[in-house]
Amino acid sequence: MHPILKLVAQRLALGLLLLWAVSLLIFFGVEALPGDAAQAMLGQSATPVALANLREQMGLNDPLVGRYLHWLGGFLTGDLGKAMTNGQDIAKSIGQRLGNTMFLAFWAAIISVPLAITLGLLAARYNGRWPDRLISGVTLATISLPEFVAGYLVLYVLAVKLHLFPSMAMIFPGMGVFERLHAIILPVIVLVMVVLAHMMRMTRAAILNVMQSAYIETAELKGLGPLAVIWRHAFPNAIAPVVNVVMLNLAYLVVGVVVVEVVFVYPGMGQFLVDHVTKRDLPVVQACGMIFAAVYIVLNILADVISILANPRLRHPK
């Protein structure tokens, strides 16, 4: 069996195991927390009777393990169940939110990844000179700005003052792609600001690291220009670390955007999850958690595979 396939298979197996562990973590974790869905829902109008009724109706009185197994069974048969709080079909409601999140993440990534890598290469090319300092400085500033601050600044300047873009990123079914794009411009800008720096700095670091190698000197002694050296000889060997950090940030774009969603009222997974967390809506929290974990795991596997493919030693074993 080809080592790569073998490795991918291994990682997938490990990933599934991890996923299962995550499900345990979330389920019993949320259970361990004080308060439950019934309480959270009734709030001030929680009379003992109503509480008992609701608990009964939500099946909160059944034994814990039984409920987990029941959930697991459903999950394995592709049934995410219904939300405790409003009985909506989870798969359906999440599906829409996930779509939105992916839409946002996709555009943020499309812009930020190439940009980050180009900037990283440039910074490495002019290492220590003013372009490097400028790029590094700016990215440093963006990385040091909390998301919500960046969000509000962008919102204040571009939406409220200049009326360039809508302040809310409302998107809903039946909206054309261009309407949607117009709607999400601001959050995309903010997300790009957030993830750009990390990827760019890693690219730069990786390139500079490779620049130490003997074969770079060989390339220079072959009479190649600086950019040619970086692009043809350094970058191919810097792919692995870059890919890893890129994947890390892609994962972040999917699972870490709660704040941006709050600021721009974007109907994504984050807000959805937070709502259900506060309402202790276990099945939904569970489902979201699994999706997030899955995204993270898959992206990691992807990163591994790519960096393997980028490395001839592993691609073509002796």
Binding site: P146, F148, P241, G270, A293
Partner: protein
């Protein structure tokens, strides 16, 4: 040590200043933190250098105390995460074998669930207080420290001098504390800076989402939240703490970069 680049120097000075203010807040702050002494968002004036906040408290005072909270929490959680993360990381690296496997997998497990979400889940349930914040943030962040310190340590354990120590019959503790730690220090110190920043940004974000410290206490993130509504009307109150967060982060970054630059020439390097 003799020649520090200007950028790092600036970073050091500013960071130092912030810590000084944090330590001396009680004496430096012009007013009582909770005292309501003006209208809502009074403009900058001689008695209120930064104006007043959303319910008429002196903003400068709030900022100074906010800095205290932010820096205190960030520092403590960072320290916690490092002590925990690095010790475990080194142990995993030196012990190797199944110990390493188990630990690494557990860390993977925790990291597979997005940090913010995890924090939200925990903090919505347990009553939010400074200690809980520190512990939660520290624990969550220690996973990343674990990864780094393990990577660095693995690089070092393959060195001949570690083998020599083993051949001499040295124990685990000596190897960790006398052979590995001194050489892993610099990359860790650099990472310390970055982790600290993440802690600052993280607690700010938590407070922004309403899970920060309790009023009348407020960290910078909380202050931004309290005054954010004004932003849309050009009320700068929210910007001041926001800028503080950014400036602190940047200056620490500058220092970290410098430490990093000094260490890359060193064996072990960043350790990824």
């Amino acid at each position: 040590m003799s020649r520090i680049p200007l950028s790092a120097l600036i970073g050091l000075v500013i960071t130092g200043a912030f810590f000084f203010l944090a330590l001396t807040a009680q004496w430096v702050a012009p007013y009582d933190m909770a005292a309501i002494m003006g209208g809502v968002w009074d403009p900058i004036s001689s008695e209120h250098w930064l104006g007043t906040d959303a319910i008429g408290r002196d903003l400068l005072t709030r900022m100074i105390y906010g800095g205290q909270v932010t820096i205190f929490v960030a520092t403590c959680s960072t320290i916690l995460s490092f002590v925990l993360g690095s010790i475990l990381g080194f142990t995993a690296a030196t012990a190797g074998g199944w110990v390493d496997q188990v630990m690494s997998r557990l860390v993977d497990l925790v990291m597979a669930v997005p940090t913010l979400i995890l924090a939200l889940v925990i903090l919505t349930a347990v009553s939010v207080s400074v200690p809980t914040l520190i512990i939660v943030m520290g624990l969550l962040d220690s996973t990343r420290v674990f990864r780094l310190s393990r990577a660095v340590a693995v690089d070092i354990t393959v060195m001949d001098y570690v083998e020599a120590a083993r051949l001499r019959g040295e124990g685990q503790r000596w190897v960790i504390f006398n052979e590995i730690l001194p050489n892993a220090l610099s990359p860790l110190v650099a990472e310390l800076g970055l982790r600290f920043i993440f802690a600052v940004l993280f607690i700010s974000t938590l407070s922004f989402l309403g899970l920060g410290v309790q009023p009348p206490l407020a960290d910078w993130g909380g202050l931004v939240k309290e005054n954010a509504t004004g932003l849309v009307y050009g009320i700068p109150a929210a910007l001041a703490p926001a800028i503080c967060i950014a400036v602190l982060a940047i200056s620490v970054n500058l220092v970290a970069d410098w430490v990093l630059a000094r260490t890359t020439s060193l064996k072990g390097g960043r350790g990824g």
